[in-house]
Symmetry: C2
Subunit: 239 residues, 2 copies
Protein backbone atom coordinates (compact mmCIF):
# COMPACT_ATOMS: atom_id res chain seq x y z
CA UNK A 1 0.00 0.00 0.00
CA UNK A 2 1.39 3.34 -1.01
CA UNK A 3 2.03 6.09 1.47
CA UNK A 4 -1.40 7.62 1.52
CA UNK A 5 -2.20 10.39 3.91
CA UNK A 6 -5.74 11.31 2.98
CA UNK A 7 -5.63 14.48 4.99
CA UNK A 8 -2.61 16.22 6.47
CA UNK A 9 -2.24 14.20 9.64
CA UNK A 10 0.32 11.42 9.97
CA UNK A 11 -1.22 7.97 10.17
CA UNK A 12 -0.04 7.34 13.71
CA UNK A 13 -1.70 10.52 14.92
CA UNK A 14 -4.96 9.51 13.34
CA UNK A 15 -4.82 6.24 15.20
CA UNK A 16 -4.15 8.11 18.43
CA UNK A 17 -6.98 10.53 17.76
CA UNK A 18 -9.39 7.67 17.26
CA UNK A 19 -8.36 6.01 20.50
CA UNK A 20 -8.56 9.28 22.40
CA UNK A 21 -12.00 9.94 20.98
CA UNK A 22 -13.20 6.57 22.17
CA UNK A 23 -11.82 7.26 25.63
CA UNK A 24 -13.37 10.72 25.86
CA UNK A 25 -16.61 9.37 24.51
CA UNK A 26 -16.71 6.77 27.28
CA UNK A 27 -16.67 3.75 24.96
CA UNK A 28 -13.27 2.90 26.42
CA UNK A 29 -12.85 3.00 30.16
CA UNK A 30 -9.73 2.70 32.32
CA UNK A 31 -8.48 -0.86 32.20
CA UNK A 32 -10.07 -1.66 28.84
CA UNK A 33 -7.83 -3.03 26.13
CA UNK A 34 -7.34 -0.62 23.24
CA UNK A 35 -6.32 -3.37 20.83
CA UNK A 36 -2.93 -4.83 20.08
CA UNK A 37 -0.35 -3.40 17.72
CA UNK A 38 -1.09 -6.03 15.08
CA UNK A 39 -4.82 -5.56 15.44
CA UNK A 40 -4.62 -1.79 15.02
CA UNK A 41 -2.23 -2.22 12.12
CA UNK A 42 -4.78 -4.35 10.27
CA UNK A 43 -7.72 -2.11 11.06
CA UNK A 44 -5.97 1.05 9.93
CA UNK A 45 -4.20 -0.68 7.03
CA UNK A 46 -0.88 0.43 8.33
CA UNK A 47 2.40 -1.32 9.06
CA UNK A 48 2.96 -2.75 12.54
CA UNK A 49 5.71 -0.25 13.29
CA UNK A 50 3.31 2.61 12.70
CA UNK A 51 0.65 1.17 14.97
CA UNK A 52 3.36 0.54 17.50
CA UNK A 53 4.51 4.16 17.30
CA UNK A 54 0.99 5.38 17.94
CA UNK A 55 0.68 3.25 21.08
CA UNK A 56 4.17 4.02 22.33
CA UNK A 57 3.51 7.76 22.18
CA UNK A 58 0.19 7.40 23.95
CA UNK A 59 1.96 5.49 26.68
CA UNK A 60 4.55 8.23 27.06
CA UNK A 61 1.74 10.73 27.46
CA UNK A 62 0.21 8.57 30.18
CA UNK A 63 -2.95 7.79 28.22
CA UNK A 64 -2.40 4.03 28.12
CA UNK A 65 -0.46 1.40 30.00
CA UNK A 66 1.39 -1.24 28.03
CA UNK A 67 2.26 -4.59 29.55
CA UNK A 68 4.38 -7.03 27.66
CA UNK A 69 2.63 -10.30 27.16
CA UNK A 70 -0.67 -8.80 28.19
CA UNK A 71 -1.64 -5.88 26.01
CA UNK A 72 -2.31 -2.16 25.90
CA UNK A 73 -4.93 -0.77 28.24
CA UNK A 74 -6.50 2.57 28.99
CA UNK A 75 -4.59 4.08 31.90
CA UNK A 76 -6.43 5.03 35.07
CA UNK A 77 -7.30 8.73 35.16
CA UNK A 78 -4.23 10.50 36.39
CA UNK A 79 -4.05 13.34 38.77
CA UNK A 80 -2.56 16.22 36.89
CA UNK A 81 0.67 16.79 38.71
CA UNK A 82 2.91 19.67 37.85
CA UNK A 83 0.43 21.00 35.36
CA UNK A 84 0.23 24.68 34.63
CA UNK A 85 -3.42 25.56 35.13
CA UNK A 86 -5.38 28.74 35.40
CA UNK A 87 -6.96 29.51 38.74
CA UNK A 88 -10.32 28.52 37.32
CA UNK A 89 -8.97 25.18 36.11
CA UNK A 90 -7.34 24.45 39.46
CA UNK A 91 -10.55 25.01 41.34
CA UNK A 92 -12.59 23.05 38.86
CA UNK A 93 -10.33 20.08 39.59
CA UNK A 94 -11.38 20.37 43.23
CA UNK A 95 -15.03 20.71 42.39
CA UNK A 96 -15.24 24.43 43.14
CA UNK A 97 -16.24 27.37 41.05
CA UNK A 98 -13.76 30.19 40.97
CA UNK A 99 -14.42 33.86 40.72
CA UNK A 100 -12.43 37.05 41.08
CA UNK A 101 -12.77 40.62 42.15
CA UNK A 102 -10.48 43.08 40.46
CA UNK A 103 -8.65 45.20 43.03
CA UNK A 104 -6.63 47.34 40.68
CA UNK A 105 -5.71 47.67 37.05
CA UNK A 106 -2.95 50.04 36.04
CA UNK A 107 -0.01 50.75 33.77
CA UNK A 108 3.24 51.04 35.67
CA UNK A 109 6.81 51.71 34.61
CA UNK A 110 8.67 51.63 37.90
CA UNK A 111 9.09 47.90 38.41
CA UNK A 112 12.52 47.21 36.95
CA UNK A 113 12.94 43.86 38.70
CA UNK A 114 9.74 42.52 37.30
CA UNK A 115 10.50 43.94 33.87
CA UNK A 116 13.79 42.05 34.04
CA UNK A 117 11.98 38.82 34.86
CA UNK A 118 9.94 39.36 31.71
CA UNK A 119 13.13 40.02 29.70
CA UNK A 120 12.07 43.64 29.12
CA UNK A 121 14.23 46.74 29.58
CA UNK A 122 14.06 48.42 32.97
CA UNK A 123 11.45 51.14 32.89
CA UNK A 124 9.24 49.25 30.45
CA UNK A 125 5.55 49.92 30.66
CA UNK A 126 3.78 47.02 32.30
CA UNK A 127 0.19 46.17 32.86
CA UNK A 128 -0.36 45.41 36.53
CA UNK A 129 -3.54 43.69 37.57
CA UNK A 130 -4.44 42.82 41.13
CA UNK A 131 -7.24 40.42 41.80
CA UNK A 132 -8.84 38.82 44.81
CA UNK A 133 -9.57 35.19 44.07
CA UNK A 134 -12.54 33.32 45.43
CA UNK A 135 -13.25 29.63 45.61
CA UNK A 136 -16.93 29.22 46.15
CA UNK A 137 -17.59 32.34 48.19
CA UNK A 138 -14.45 32.28 50.27
CA UNK A 139 -11.44 34.45 49.52
CA UNK A 140 -8.53 32.17 48.68
CA UNK A 141 -5.77 34.36 47.39
CA UNK A 142 -4.53 37.73 46.30
CA UNK A 143 -2.88 37.60 42.91
CA UNK A 144 -0.89 40.29 41.17
CA UNK A 145 -0.08 39.70 37.54
CA UNK A 146 2.30 41.74 35.42
CA UNK A 147 2.58 41.59 31.68
CA UNK A 148 3.91 43.69 28.85
CA UNK A 149 1.85 46.77 28.06
CA UNK A 150 1.49 45.33 24.54
CA UNK A 151 -1.42 43.46 26.03
CA UNK A 152 -3.19 46.57 27.27
CA UNK A 153 -6.09 45.70 25.01
CA UNK A 154 -6.96 43.39 27.89
CA UNK A 155 -9.70 45.56 29.20
CA UNK A 156 -11.08 45.17 32.68
CA UNK A 157 -14.37 44.06 31.25
CA UNK A 158 -12.85 41.26 29.23
CA UNK A 159 -10.93 40.00 32.22
CA UNK A 160 -13.98 39.86 34.36
CA UNK A 161 -15.66 37.60 31.84
CA UNK A 162 -13.01 35.06 30.88
CA UNK A 163 -9.82 33.84 32.49
CA UNK A 164 -6.58 35.61 31.67
CA UNK A 165 -5.21 32.39 30.20
CA UNK A 166 -8.03 31.97 27.74
CA UNK A 167 -8.02 35.63 26.70
CA UNK A 168 -4.28 35.42 26.00
CA UNK A 169 -4.66 32.21 24.07
CA UNK A 170 -7.67 33.19 22.02
CA UNK A 171 -7.36 36.94 21.55
CA UNK A 172 -3.60 37.21 21.30
CA UNK A 173 -2.67 33.81 19.93
CA UNK A 174 -0.22 33.28 22.78
CA UNK A 175 0.08 29.66 23.86
CA UNK A 176 1.54 29.16 27.28
CA UNK A 177 4.16 26.48 27.59
CA UNK A 178 5.49 26.27 31.12
CA UNK A 179 6.04 28.20 34.30
CA UNK A 180 8.89 28.41 36.74
CA UNK A 181 7.76 28.96 40.27
CA UNK A 182 9.45 30.05 43.47
CA UNK A 183 7.54 29.03 46.53
CA UNK A 184 8.05 30.12 50.09
CA UNK A 185 6.10 31.07 53.16
CA UNK A 186 5.32 34.49 54.50
CA UNK A 187 2.99 36.22 56.86
CA UNK A 188 -0.12 38.24 56.16
CA UNK A 189 0.34 41.96 56.61
CA UNK A 190 -2.64 44.07 57.56
CA UNK A 191 -4.08 44.76 54.14
CA UNK A 192 -3.74 41.24 52.83
CA UNK A 193 -5.16 39.84 56.04
CA UNK A 194 -8.26 41.94 55.79
CA UNK A 195 -8.78 41.07 52.13
CA UNK A 196 -8.53 37.38 52.89
CA UNK A 197 -10.43 37.61 56.19
CA UNK A 198 -7.63 36.05 58.16
CA UNK A 199 -5.82 37.33 61.23
CA UNK A 200 -2.83 39.59 60.86
CA UNK A 201 0.27 37.39 61.03
CA UNK A 202 -1.37 34.26 59.62
CA UNK A 203 0.86 32.12 57.40
CA UNK A 204 0.59 32.50 53.65
CA UNK A 205 1.98 30.49 50.80
CA UNK A 206 3.77 32.88 48.46
CA UNK A 207 4.19 31.79 44.86
CA UNK A 208 6.10 33.78 42.28
CA UNK A 209 5.53 32.49 38.77
CA UNK A 210 7.22 33.37 35.52
CA UNK A 211 5.08 31.93 32.77
CA UNK A 212 6.66 31.29 29.38
CA UNK A 213 4.92 31.10 26.04
CA UNK A 214 5.70 28.54 23.37
CA UNK A 215 7.69 31.12 21.44
CA UNK A 216 10.12 30.95 24.31
CA UNK A 217 9.76 34.30 25.98
CA UNK A 218 8.68 35.00 29.53
CA UNK A 219 5.24 36.50 29.16
CA UNK A 220 3.62 36.74 32.56
CA UNK A 221 4.84 37.37 36.05
CA UNK A 222 2.43 36.39 38.77
CA UNK A 223 2.77 36.97 42.49
CA UNK A 224 0.26 34.99 44.48
CA UNK A 225 -0.44 34.99 48.20
CA UNK A 226 -2.52 32.00 49.19
CA UNK A 227 -4.30 31.34 52.44
CA UNK A 228 -2.46 28.41 53.84
CA UNK A 229 -5.55 26.97 55.46
CA UNK A 230 -7.36 26.75 52.15
CA UNK A 231 -4.62 25.94 49.75
CA UNK A 232 -2.14 23.11 49.52
CA UNK A 233 0.24 22.77 46.67
CA UNK A 234 0.59 19.31 45.18
CA UNK A 235 3.81 18.45 43.47
CA UNK A 236 5.31 15.28 42.09
CA UNK A 237 9.05 14.95 41.88
CA UNK A 238 10.97 12.29 40.00
CA UNK A 239 14.25 10.67 40.75
Amino acid sequence: MSRDRRNGAPAYKKIQALILKRIEGGQLKPGDAVGSERELAKIHRVSPMTARHALACLEREGVVDRRRGAGTFVAPPKIHFNKLMSFTEQLAGRGLTGSSRMLSYALVDDEPEIAARLALPAGSRLLKIQRLRFGGDEAFAVETVYLSADFSGLTRARLERGSLFSVLEHQYGVTLAHADEEIDATIAEAKTASLLSIPYGAPLLRIRQVIFSTTGGPTLFVLGLYRSDRHTLLIRRFR
Copy 2:
Protein backbone atom coordinates in the same frame (compact mmCIF):
# COMPACT_ATOMS: atom_id res chain seq x y z
CA MET B 1 23.20 -8.76 9.51
CA SER B 2 21.64 -11.11 11.98
CA ARG B 3 20.13 -9.95 15.22
CA ASP B 4 23.24 -10.06 17.34
CA ARG B 5 23.17 -8.77 20.85
CA ARG B 6 26.67 -9.59 22.07
CA ASN B 7 25.78 -8.78 25.64
CA GLY B 8 22.34 -8.36 27.18
CA ALA B 9 21.68 -4.75 26.23
CA PRO B 10 19.49 -3.79 23.29
CA ALA B 11 21.41 -2.17 20.46
CA TYR B 12 19.68 1.17 20.82
CA LYS B 13 20.65 1.37 24.48
CA LYS B 14 24.25 0.68 23.62
CA ILE B 15 24.20 3.56 21.18
CA GLN B 16 22.69 5.79 23.85
CA ALA B 17 25.26 4.66 26.40
CA LEU B 18 28.08 5.54 24.04
CA ILE B 19 26.67 9.00 23.38
CA LEU B 20 26.08 9.61 27.08
CA LYS B 21 29.61 8.52 27.86
CA ARG B 22 30.99 10.98 25.34
CA ILE B 23 28.92 13.76 26.87
CA GLU B 24 29.92 12.94 30.43
CA GLY B 25 33.51 12.58 29.36
CA GLY B 26 33.45 16.06 27.88
CA GLN B 27 34.21 15.00 24.30
CA LEU B 28 30.75 16.23 23.35
CA LYS B 29 29.64 19.61 24.61
CA PRO B 30 26.23 21.27 24.48
CA GLY B 31 25.48 22.30 20.91
CA ASP B 32 27.76 19.67 19.35
CA ALA B 33 26.27 17.34 16.78
CA VAL B 34 26.03 13.76 17.97
CA GLY B 35 25.86 12.38 14.43
CA SER B 36 22.89 11.77 12.19
CA GLU B 37 20.64 8.74 12.24
CA ARG B 38 22.23 7.35 9.10
CA GLU B 39 25.72 7.98 10.36
CA LEU B 40 25.10 6.23 13.67
CA ALA B 41 23.37 3.38 11.86
CA LYS B 42 26.48 2.76 9.76
CA ILE B 43 28.89 3.08 12.66
CA HIS B 44 26.99 0.69 14.86
CA ARG B 45 26.04 -1.62 11.98
CA VAL B 46 22.42 -1.23 12.82
CA SER B 47 19.32 -0.34 10.81
CA PRO B 48 18.30 3.31 10.53
CA MET B 49 15.16 2.75 12.57
CA THR B 50 17.23 1.49 15.46
CA ALA B 51 19.59 4.45 15.40
CA ARG B 52 16.55 6.66 15.16
CA HIS B 53 15.00 5.04 18.19
CA ALA B 54 18.14 5.64 20.20
CA LEU B 55 18.14 9.35 19.34
CA ALA B 56 14.39 9.78 19.82
CA CYS B 57 14.58 8.38 23.34
CA LEU B 58 17.53 10.58 24.21
CA GLU B 59 15.53 13.57 23.02
CA ARG B 60 12.59 12.59 25.19
CA GLU B 61 14.93 12.44 28.17
CA GLY B 62 16.19 15.92 27.36
CA VAL B 63 19.73 14.80 26.58
CA VAL B 64 19.71 15.98 22.96
CA ASP B 65 17.79 18.42 20.79
CA ARG B 66 16.70 17.28 17.36
CA ARG B 67 16.01 19.77 14.59
CA ARG B 68 14.61 18.59 11.32
CA GLY B 69 16.86 19.44 8.44
CA ALA B 70 19.67 20.36 10.79
CA GLY B 71 20.65 17.44 12.97
CA THR B 72 20.83 16.12 16.49
CA PHE B 73 22.76 18.14 19.03
CA VAL B 74 23.72 17.84 22.67
CA ALA B 75 21.12 19.75 24.69
CA PRO B 76 22.22 22.59 26.93
CA PRO B 77 22.62 21.48 30.54
CA LYS B 78 19.23 21.61 32.11
CA ILE B 79 18.38 22.78 35.55
CA HIS B 80 16.97 19.83 37.37
CA PHE B 81 13.42 20.87 37.99
CA ASN B 82 11.01 18.67 39.85
CA LYS B 83 13.77 16.24 40.70
CA LEU B 84 13.58 14.17 43.82
CA MET B 85 16.84 14.81 45.61
CA SER B 86 18.18 14.10 49.04
CA PHE B 87 18.83 17.05 51.30
CA THR B 88 22.54 16.67 50.65
CA GLU B 89 22.03 16.70 46.89
CA GLN B 90 19.81 19.77 47.07
CA LEU B 91 22.36 21.74 48.99
CA ALA B 92 25.20 20.60 46.77
CA GLY B 93 23.29 22.11 43.85
CA ARG B 94 23.43 25.43 45.67
CA GLY B 95 27.08 25.08 46.51
CA LEU B 96 26.55 24.32 50.18
CA THR B 97 27.56 21.40 52.31
CA GLY B 98 24.77 19.82 54.27
CA SER B 99 24.92 18.23 57.66
CA SER B 100 22.43 16.95 60.21
CA ARG B 101 21.98 16.54 63.90
CA MET B 102 19.80 13.68 65.01
CA LEU B 103 17.14 14.85 67.44
CA SER B 104 15.42 11.56 68.07
CA TYR B 105 15.31 8.02 66.83
CA ALA B 106 12.54 5.72 67.97
CA LEU B 107 10.15 2.96 67.11
CA VAL B 108 6.53 4.04 67.34
CA ASP B 109 3.24 2.27 66.75
CA ASP B 110 0.70 4.98 67.45
CA GLU B 111 0.73 6.88 64.16
CA PRO B 112 -2.14 5.32 62.23
CA GLU B 113 -2.42 8.18 59.76
CA ILE B 114 1.18 7.93 58.77
CA ALA B 115 1.01 4.15 58.63
CA ALA B 116 -1.89 4.56 56.23
CA ARG B 117 0.15 6.87 54.03
CA LEU B 118 2.74 4.12 53.83
CA ALA B 119 0.05 1.57 52.98
CA LEU B 120 0.66 -0.24 56.26
CA PRO B 121 -1.99 -1.40 58.75
CA ALA B 122 -2.84 1.00 61.54
CA GLY B 123 -0.73 0.23 64.57
CA SER B 124 2.25 -0.88 62.47
CA ARG B 125 5.64 -0.37 63.98
CA LEU B 126 7.39 2.53 62.36
CA LEU B 127 10.85 3.92 62.60
CA LYS B 128 10.64 7.64 63.38
CA ILE B 129 13.72 9.76 62.93
CA GLN B 130 13.88 13.46 63.63
CA ARG B 131 16.78 15.46 62.34
CA LEU B 132 17.86 19.06 62.36
CA ARG B 133 19.27 19.96 58.97
CA PHE B 134 22.09 22.40 58.44
CA GLY B 135 23.29 24.16 55.34
CA GLY B 136 26.77 25.39 56.00
CA ASP B 137 26.45 26.06 59.72
CA GLU B 138 22.95 27.48 59.71
CA ALA B 139 19.92 25.48 60.71
CA PHE B 140 17.65 25.17 57.67
CA ALA B 141 14.97 22.72 58.59
CA VAL B 142 13.53 20.18 60.95
CA GLU B 143 12.75 16.91 59.20
CA THR B 144 10.84 13.96 60.57
CA VAL B 145 10.98 10.81 58.53
CA TYR B 146 8.87 7.70 59.07
CA LEU B 147 9.50 4.34 57.50
CA SER B 148 8.56 0.75 58.08
CA ALA B 149 10.26 -0.89 61.05
CA ASP B 150 11.64 -3.41 58.54
CA PHE B 151 14.37 -0.89 58.06
CA SER B 152 15.31 -0.73 61.71
CA GLY B 153 18.76 -1.99 60.78
CA LEU B 154 19.29 1.68 59.91
CA THR B 155 21.30 2.41 62.98
CA ARG B 156 21.85 5.91 64.19
CA ALA B 157 25.54 5.59 63.44
CA ARG B 158 24.96 4.66 59.84
CA LEU B 159 22.59 7.55 59.34
CA GLU B 160 25.06 10.01 60.71
CA ARG B 161 27.61 8.91 58.13
CA GLY B 162 25.66 8.66 54.88
CA SER B 163 22.39 10.10 53.62
CA LEU B 164 19.20 8.15 54.18
CA PHE B 165 18.70 7.91 50.43
CA SER B 166 22.03 6.30 49.79
CA VAL B 167 21.72 3.89 52.71
CA LEU B 168 18.32 2.78 51.42
CA GLU B 169 19.58 2.38 47.91
CA HIS B 170 22.81 0.60 48.72
CA GLN B 171 22.07 -1.37 51.88
CA TYR B 172 18.47 -2.29 51.18
CA GLY B 173 18.39 -2.31 47.40
CA VAL B 174 15.46 0.10 47.40
CA THR B 175 15.45 2.47 44.45
CA LEU B 176 13.35 5.53 44.90
CA ALA B 177 11.14 6.49 41.99
CA HIS B 178 9.09 9.55 42.79
CA ALA B 179 7.55 11.57 45.57
CA ASP B 180 4.21 13.25 46.00
CA GLU B 181 4.42 16.41 48.04
CA GLU B 182 1.90 18.57 49.80
CA ILE B 183 3.18 22.04 50.44
CA ASP B 184 1.70 24.73 52.60
CA ALA B 185 2.73 27.41 55.00
CA THR B 186 2.65 27.39 58.75
CA ILE B 187 4.10 29.17 61.71
CA ALA B 188 6.93 28.20 63.99
CA GLU B 189 5.83 27.04 67.40
CA ALA B 190 8.18 27.50 70.33
CA LYS B 191 10.23 24.35 70.06
CA THR B 192 10.73 24.54 66.31
CA ALA B 193 11.57 28.21 66.54
CA SER B 194 14.31 27.62 69.06
CA LEU B 195 15.77 24.74 67.05
CA LEU B 196 15.90 26.89 63.93
CA SER B 197 16.94 30.05 65.79
CA ILE B 198 14.01 32.03 64.46
CA PRO B 199 11.40 34.01 66.31
CA TYR B 200 8.26 32.30 67.53
CA GLY B 201 5.58 32.87 64.91
CA ALA B 202 7.96 33.11 61.95
CA PRO B 203 6.63 31.62 58.69
CA LEU B 204 7.70 28.11 57.72
CA LEU B 205 7.30 26.14 54.57
CA ARG B 206 5.78 22.79 55.47
CA ILE B 207 6.36 19.92 53.08
CA ARG B 208 4.82 16.51 53.51
CA GLN B 209 6.36 13.95 51.20
CA VAL B 210 5.38 10.41 50.40
CA ILE B 211 8.28 8.83 48.61
CA PHE B 212 7.63 5.79 46.43
CA SER B 213 10.10 3.12 45.43
CA THR B 214 10.32 1.61 41.97
CA THR B 215 8.50 -1.48 43.18
CA GLY B 216 5.50 0.78 43.50
CA GLY B 217 4.97 1.03 47.21
CA PRO B 218 5.11 4.13 49.38
CA THR B 219 8.27 3.70 51.38
CA LEU B 220 9.02 6.94 53.19
CA PHE B 221 6.95 9.64 54.76
CA VAL B 222 8.78 12.87 55.41
CA LEU B 223 7.50 15.93 57.20
CA GLY B 224 9.76 18.91 56.72
CA LEU B 225 9.57 22.36 58.22
CA TYR B 226 11.78 24.78 56.36
CA ARG B 227 12.87 28.24 57.36
CA SER B 228 11.20 30.40 54.79
CA ASP B 229 13.99 32.93 54.79
CA ARG B 230 16.56 30.32 53.81
CA HIS B 231 14.60 28.05 51.59
CA THR B 232 12.71 28.58 48.38
CA LEU B 233 11.12 25.77 46.49
CA LEU B 234 11.64 25.77 42.74
CA ILE B 235 9.08 24.09 40.60
CA ARG B 236 8.42 23.90 36.90
CA ARG B 237 4.93 23.28 35.67
CA PHE B 238 3.90 22.36 32.17
CA ARG B 239 0.81 23.20 30.22
